[in-house]
Symmetry: D2
Subunit: 338 residues, 4 copies
């Protein structure tokens, strides 16, 4: 850390800061400039240190030097990681192509969608059994019954299952059925849930919260990694912004930065960002061109009957068109379907 003192800070301020730095088990290195005195604090930065030093009188600012995450960082693990989900590989040259309905609504429609996405080249099936909904009056998912339908789809079409878990008390239940546990954007900083999926031993898909920085996202990944679960895939699905023509603003820099700062695979969810199918395809391709290791999209054979998110669901024809383009972009990026 670098501790920048206020202009005109005198020797007693310097002495107090140095004393506190040494109390924290670090070495202090004082550098007097023309306009400001800077004190370097040399040694391992613990999470609480910057705030504690910033609270001292006469301190103007504290600049941490180290990233606050470790296991998620490229410094810790230089090469791209790869996560395997029921035989499908994600990262390090292999792409997740996840598709399916927003929510599992009933057996027939879910089977039909699974068959469709399999035929068009998806390698993993998504579908929500426990749905986090903005309104208490909206459809909340079929729960265990939804998981059973997903399991049947896996049997029939050979697609491993990605499904969301929202309650730490349900992690065990969902783990019985799912091949990959999804933590939704609204739960990205639900640290209790993160710790629980960290213990579950299943691959985790961690969505970025709509106003989270890349560092905060990687800190949430660190919660899972530090429980011993190294199978984490990141997913960008849009920032909350001022544009009213889309639900969220897909943040392709978050994808590029996460790939730069971390070794974890990153995929893109264009459906929740767009909120309307007309722009799902360009956003999906943009995410892949920014470096994403795959995508997760919503598909529905009859969007106007969907219990949720119908406007953003791709029809079969649009999904087929998307998959054609996806293959070409992945080839350019040097990646193949997982």
């Amino acid at each position: 850390m670098l501790v920048i003192l206020e202009a005109g800070a005198d020797d007693s301020v310097v002495a107090q800061v140095v004393e506190r730095i040494e109390q924290l088990g670090l070495k202090a290195h004082v550098s007097r400039g023309e306009f400001r005195t800077i004190i370097g604090a040399i040694g391992e930065e613990k999470a609480a240190f910057p705030e504690q030093l910033l609270s001292l009188q006469g301190v103007e600012n504290v600049v941490p030097i180290m990233k606050p995450y470790k296991l998620a960082s490229r410094e810790f693990h230089h090469a791209d990681s790869q996560v395997a989900v029921g035989g499908v590989k994600i990262g390090a040259g292999r792409a997740a192509l996840i598709a399916g309905p927003c929510a599992v609504e009933d057996r027939a429609s879910c089977l039909a969608i699974a068959e469709c996405v399999k035929k068009q080249g998806a390698n993993l099936l998504r579908g929500g059994a426990f749905k986090p909904r903005t309104s208490p009056y909206s459809f909340q998912g079929l729960g265990r019954q939804g998981l059973e339908i997903l399991a049947e789809c896996r049997e029939r079409f050979g697609l491993p299952i990605v499904t969301e878990v929202t309650d730490p008390r349900n992690v065990e239940l969902v783990s019985e059925y799912a091949d990959m546990l999804q933590v939704g954007a609204r739960n990205m900083q639900n640290f209790v849930l993160l710790a629980e999926v960290g213990k579950a031993g299943k691959p985790v898909l961690l969505k970025r919260g709509p106003s989270s920085t890349v560092t905060e996202w990687l800190m949430s990944a660190e919660y899972i990694l530090s429980e011993g679960n190294r199978q984490v895939v990141l997913c960008e699905r849009g920032s909350r912004g001022f544009e009213t023509e889309v639900r969220f603003s897909l943040d392709v820099s978050a994808i590029a930065l996460a790939k730069h700062d971390s070794h974890l695979p990153v995929i893109v969810d264009p459906s929740h960002a767009a909120g309307r199918r007309e722009v799902v395809i360009p956003l999906a391709l943009a995410g892949l061109a920014a470096g994403a290791d795959g995508l997760i999209v919503e598909v529905h054979l009859c969007p106007e009957q969907a219990q949720c998110d119908g406007p953003q669901a791709l029809t079969e024809a649009m999904f087929a068109e998307l998959m054609g383009q996806v293959k070409r972009v992945l080839a350019i990026m040097g990646k193949a379907s997982g």
Copy 2:
């Protein structure tokens, strides 16, 4: 709802939209304008209807007319609500003056802070026993021991306790000790937790998420209210923004809008918005002047030793100064300490 058709939508589109509206149990009212045809859907709007109609071919946009929340709305309950927390009243002319440490760190410091804030005029004590921290390596709170220390402070100084609950499995435990359950900003859309505190029968302090609209905030309140718990107090604590000199941008319009759209009491948390004590006092007064029914602030007698959020904690002198100004502003706004 109003369903706006695309330019040039023909009679078959109109017929399909009308049919679907009637299937949903509503009456359709077609109005052909010079440039667009609009179809009104008359009757009760269910949460899924707008999306389902928007998914129909030839539909350009759907405009909901009703607010998506009910129990939280001023239409449902016109007069300001009042919530009582261990004898302290909040709302309808009475103000919460909540102060205390960010986290309960140890018995001695917590007792000292409680004594200080009581002396300066606080009417409720805050303090975290379960802390949601961005980093898994940060201090996570003392848990049950922290709750016991808070209870001792209540005994000694007669201050009811507000403390955060982060895990649905802990709602019962925290309810044993706390007078008011706090749901933090990061958990505003943790619907599992909202339902659980809705069942707990304790007053709830619901912070606004850093990128949540006022409508989404009131929808989260609706989760609690619809479980039968009518004792909800809202708390604004800042939006995620682009200014790097503060942690969050305190959103006084959110306060004014929540007071306009809802009957629920609203308070302001200037500490988490500011992130640095120099601007806590102006933000606190701004929140009250915007109509807030009280405030919640962090106080620490020795901020440079704090385990979390030291830079934003007010010292005793600053808290005393704040309380002097608060009383004057509340008087202008026609409010008294709860």
Copy 3:
């Protein structure tokens, strides 16, 4: 427009709104629903009408139906437009590949950069002679001398010139030298400047302001178009956001939406969005995959000597790498260098 009345609005409110609608030269169409009365205002919506109706007592909301722009819209001109800049075509299948220094700093470095970007496949040369700088103490550009250097580069390497104009009094001067006038992001709503470049009869590159919606962007294009200048190319260069690891958040949805709502060509500027060269390439490719008709990037042969924006300038090696990938992505998107 649709005028939504407040709950419980009585007949006198309805009568007043109808009267005002008719005063504005429109026809009123009243529709009484279960919870709200809606009045359709049929006829041409002028810009001031929605606000005037919203100001009437008893009116809860006004919903415009028409887009507020005309000449920029796809409804007005269905097919993709193409703009020619000194022989280079942009839009409708042809891509602008604009590269060059941030600012023209001196003759030698500018000639060297122009030679380099030409060799690597750029078809237009960028370079600032009049620089809008955040600080009055920063290098403000060489002015006319910079324009002369750019003109020499055009002579030598056959690259038409794109350069910024910041002052309505300089539009004539800049037009003498430039093949395309750039209006910077900070001037997107400098309506005085927009009108002046609208009269200049030169192609215009209009950057999106960092907090402008797509509709506001197209309204600014409309200022230029409505002066009779139809040669407008849009350029996305990032939204102001909360992520501190990049300067701006490249908004690929703005590209997809602008292509959806307008016939005008759209290009992407990944350099100003990124602010650091490590993420320029992924952002450039993401913009093209989202549908952009080309790109504009900063290149410098010696970034550490640059007078401005050195950290985001690509080196020759990086620019060569980028151009290789760009060709492949454009091929997939069915586009060729303009």
Copy 4:
């Protein structure tokens, strides 16, 4: 500045950075930590230096220590400044109470509004003669005729005039009539205009751009100050945000931070932030409680006839109510009408 090297940077990197620092006329001070080497660059930081050092190979980050503005800073001028506008004082205990129509629409209505706001206690009159409008099809103001009407209002009611200038070619014309030149939010970084009003020798009201940081705002003030014009008043009028119930999010932290970092007076514009009159009063009071040295509000006697911004204009009754509350809040803040 502090130059932070990448992990593992070797002696040759250190040598190159030191050499470059010395070329820039600064002294280098190397400090080798456990994980990173830091090089302090001691001496005056010029605007281009951080970027140039950041562009060097092996440099991870550069941390400037000095604020990039000088004349606007509290370090340069410690006490609150006061600006006099036609006899009315703003800052250092005196408050601007500026009111009037959005635009001057005609002589009669403007005189009537001026009479009204004078009677209710305003000390300055606002009104636009040159209007920056999002749409080229909207009313653009009466120009010189509007200025003449404003001058007549000043004659009749003794209210000095604040009016916007949007074109550098009109600064002289507007200065003939106005007592204070307003630079609108969209022109905050129109540096050409800033330089021109800096030369005009009239007090300037500088609005904050909707996505500008406080530092960028003060840099724009620096443009005016560095031309020799020290009569600058800042005005906060809202950030672009995600809440759709208001036009902009009033940013009270920007007020508190500007008062903290600068000696210049700061006022609040609640009208443009709100966009709807129901929340103008709470936002106005919030701005004053955050430390603003006055306000600027829109008033119209017949908002439903207004050519622009009718929905946010206060009626006479609301303005009277506001002024009553304003006096009480100013008294608490130790301020009096200018």
